[in-house]
Assembly symmetry: C2
């Protein structure tokens, strides 16, 4: 490693230390902080965010990047050196192109917006949310202009979460995905009454739920020496270091699913970050490369593994032994069908594997028009409800259950939603490839062995951290670009069997 490159990495690690300290402030805020700490905590996080941003956007960073590049002109594309310089150069550009006044104005508007949205949602009062949403949208469009885009301003926003992805590509994917998906859901809905999840809503003591969640996460390969599990209202995974990647979950005494599948979901995110190459630790490359690839990991473990019949062939006897009163009269088949029930939910976060992407498509369509200025903010409830009816055959009875349900827009996260659906597609593509390399994976899962799959993910995805974009990773693994057909095949196979379609 040359001297200039070393100086760059040293500088970047300092920045990452500040970012991770801010992450701990955030983790603690959601897990431990007493109510009295909230005001000071917001101020502490703002200070660290500003310092981290100043350190990254300092001209010194640009100079160091240039010097490190001159020192390593021939470093191969996939080397740590070339990747670091390439990725951070774009980080630098993304962070320096927006004037700090605009960033501050955006931070202020979204801080305000979050509180207004919370109240508007409770009161089912979209009108009260309109003025601030207009302002957030306007600021967001101005930010998109500064970031720049070849085609649609939405690309600039989407690219913040999924570097290199375009709205055109997402539109192509969704256009191809929607018809078969709508068709599948229609066929399932015709059979709706044949699956019930009542057995998941019996009595499940929380301390026993905690135990089974730890047991399952450990079995999957989540390393508790380099992590921990806590309770949070809105579960998340958070990396504070490669050796300290934490997950949170929530427990409901009368509903088993949130803790069980939430834990597998967050463990999937966390195992991604636990698996980054130690050589990248402490640098800006030591985390997942994009929201889409991150979601592919969480959804693969939650759904492809965690909602498979093979998995529960191994895990269900353990669950029954833990909850004999609630599960001794339940067969594996009944349990398997219950956890895969397809329902008609108004709420994205409560929706199942089959309908989830449809919820995303609705949001993507609206966002695209909003950003282009084709839909006035006032009309969003009407547009939402019309599309919802077209997609799902039902109309949300209130805006609280409709256009007001998501936190994202109030926080300025416009262009974020598609990554959830991309994650589902990527999960299916990666999982298929893993099974081609190791056909024994399903049989191993049925025995409670997950290390072949985890090791495959470590080697093919995790270790690279942010070295490659989502598209590059996918190309390296599958030789193809992202597509929806594998996910569609997966859904078709699964639900055809469960619903006997």
């Amino acid at each position: 490693m040359g001297e200039k490159y070393q100086a760059l990495v040293h500088h970047l690690m300092d920045i990452r230390n500040v970012n991770r300290a801010e992450a701990l402030l955030g983790w603690d805020q959601q897990v431990n902080m007493p109510p009295g700490g909230s005001k000071a905590r917001a101020s502490q996080m703002a200070t660290l965010a500003r310092i981290g941003h100043e350190m990254l956007t300092d001209e010194q960073t640009d100079l160091m990047l240039k010097e490190a590049h001159l020192e390593n002109p021939d470093a191969p594309y996939d080397s740590d050196e070339a990747s670091m310089i390439r990725v951070v150069r774009e980080d630098y550009r993304e962070n320096t192109c927006i004037p700090s006044d605009l960033i501050a104005e955006h931070a202020e508007a979204t801080g305000l917006g979050h509180n207004i949205w919370k109240e508007a949602r409770v009161k089912n009062d979209f009108a009260s949310f309109v003025p601030i949403l207009k302002r957030i949208l306007d600021l967001t469009r101005r930010m998109a202009d500064y970031i720049g885009y070849p085609d649609h301003p939405y690309d600039a926003l989407l690219g913040q979460y999924e570097r290199g992805m375009t709205s055109k590509e997402v539109k192509r994917l969704f256009d191809e995905h929607k018809p078969p998906l709508v068709n599948l859901i229609a066929r399932i809905n015709a059979d709706d009454d044949r699956v019930s999840d009542d057995i998941l809503r019996r009595d499940y003591a929380i301390d026993k739920q905690e135990q089974i969640c730890v047991d399952i996460a450990t079995a999957l390969g989540y390393d508790f020496n380099r992590g921990r599990i806590d309770v949070a209202t809105h579960p998340f995974a958070m990396g504070l270091a490669q050796g300290d990647v934490r997950i949170t979950t929530r427990y409901n005494k009368n509903f088993l699913s949130p803790a069980l599948f939430g834990t597998m979901h967050e463990a999937g995110h966390a195992m991604y970050e636990q698996g980054v190459s130690p050589a990248l630790e402490g640098t800006p490359l030591s985390r997942g490369t994009s929201l889409g690839v991150h979601e592919s990991q969480s959804r693969m473990w939650e759904n492809m593994v965690g909602r498979s019949k093979g998995f529960w062939g191994w895990a269900f006897p353990k669950l029954q032994a833990m909850f004999p009163e609630s599960l001794s009269d339940v067969s594996l088949e009944t349990f398997y069908r219950a956890i895969n029930k397809v329902g008609q939910s108004y709420i994205r976060v409560e929706s199942d594997e089959a309908t989830y992407n449809l919820h995303i498509m609705l949001r993507f369509e609206l966002e695209l028009e909003m950003v282009a200025g084709n839909i006035p903010v006032e009309n969003l409830p009407k547009e939402w409800n019309e599309r919802f009816e077209a997609f799902f055959g039902i109309v949300p009875p209130t805006d609280t259950l409709g256009v007001l349900q998501d936190i994202h827009w109030s926080n300025g996260l416009i262009g974020y939603f598609p990554t959830y659906a991309l994650g589902n597609m990527l999960a299916a593509q990666y999982y298929k490839r893993a099974l081609e390399d190791h056909p024994q994976i399903p049989a191993e899962i049925a025995q409670g062995k997950f290390d072949t799959l985890l090791k495959w993910l470590n080697v093919n995805i995790h270790q690279h951290g942010r070295k490659f974009t989502s598209a590059e990773i996918t190309q390296r693994i599958t030789g193809e670009s992202i597509k929806s057909s594998e996910y569609m095949k997966y859904l078709d196979n699964k639900y055809t069997e469960i619903y006997g379609l």
Copy 2:
């Protein structure tokens, strides 16, 4: 508030935010962090420490202090403005006077020293600790020279923890304190067999200990809406904001004292920081003014309140109800005597109220000579043991139980020990004054009411934060300077009664 003063406060609050983020990193390290996080955590803390130090020692701070002073030339001494400028000016001087090379060298040596000491203590091998302790001592003396002192280099070190206090003053206090204290202990030792604490070493289920600790801390006035209690190997209190001051404790199933009195001790520290004036929140003045005054609060609640007969007249029935198997055959009198047993311990942190200050005096005498260069480091075990015999009549059988027992020197904390003893003296002076103002306090305590005392401490001590030095606080409250006689009177009264001397 003028513009220049406001700019100063804004800058100082940014620094404090960085310091508090670092504090959370430290709290989490001791309470939550999984083992895998330790290396990255040290690096994160070092980065924030450096950034905080750079922000404080930036010439900008000096300029802002000067401008704020010019803007407020006539602000009264005890105003927030004058106090802020006065205290931070000295912070700035203390932090800028030592060259950063020396600070880095000291940080490196103490980082190393801590690990060497840990191993030396386990192996009872003082010789292996000698070279690094010599280096730490040498660096510490050089730092003292940079800080400056009127008389003895020890003053510069002591002043870091107890601003304005001198070794001459401590020597005077200890010289006056030692003879009556040694005399009291000798009289108690002659009666040693009359008090036993065996009943504290029965079975005490940890979940019930947790409950009683929360109940007692709440009753004392520790605000759980602005704090929380967790477990840590080495208990401490930590302020992350005025609305977030946390305590930690430890539980031993077969020894009730550590959790019970440790919790009251840490709650005492925490109530101090919870009580600082909201007008100072987020500034460098929003914490306790010195280690001595801090310790006066923890020791007052732990000992003067928490080890009093009145307190247990109220609390003992509750404790008995919680632990009927272990306490139903125990009288209040027996319990009260048990928690006030005076023993012959080699270990400072296990010692009782009577012998504690003697342990401190021994360390102070040695440190004074060490810093003056009069005792070669190699001779410390011999010097320690000779003094220990002279003070306590017994000789530590190993260095592990003697000169190697404390973490402080290995961490570079030389000049720190006296503050523990000063805290005991101040506690007695303040408590006496509170009782003069409110003679009903002991009767209230016997009914489980603590708010008169807490309010008195809030008004007279807590609200001021760091506005006044320890000496100024003491003068304001008692009209006198610090002295040992009140503490001596307190000990005499207490033990004369218990031991029937």
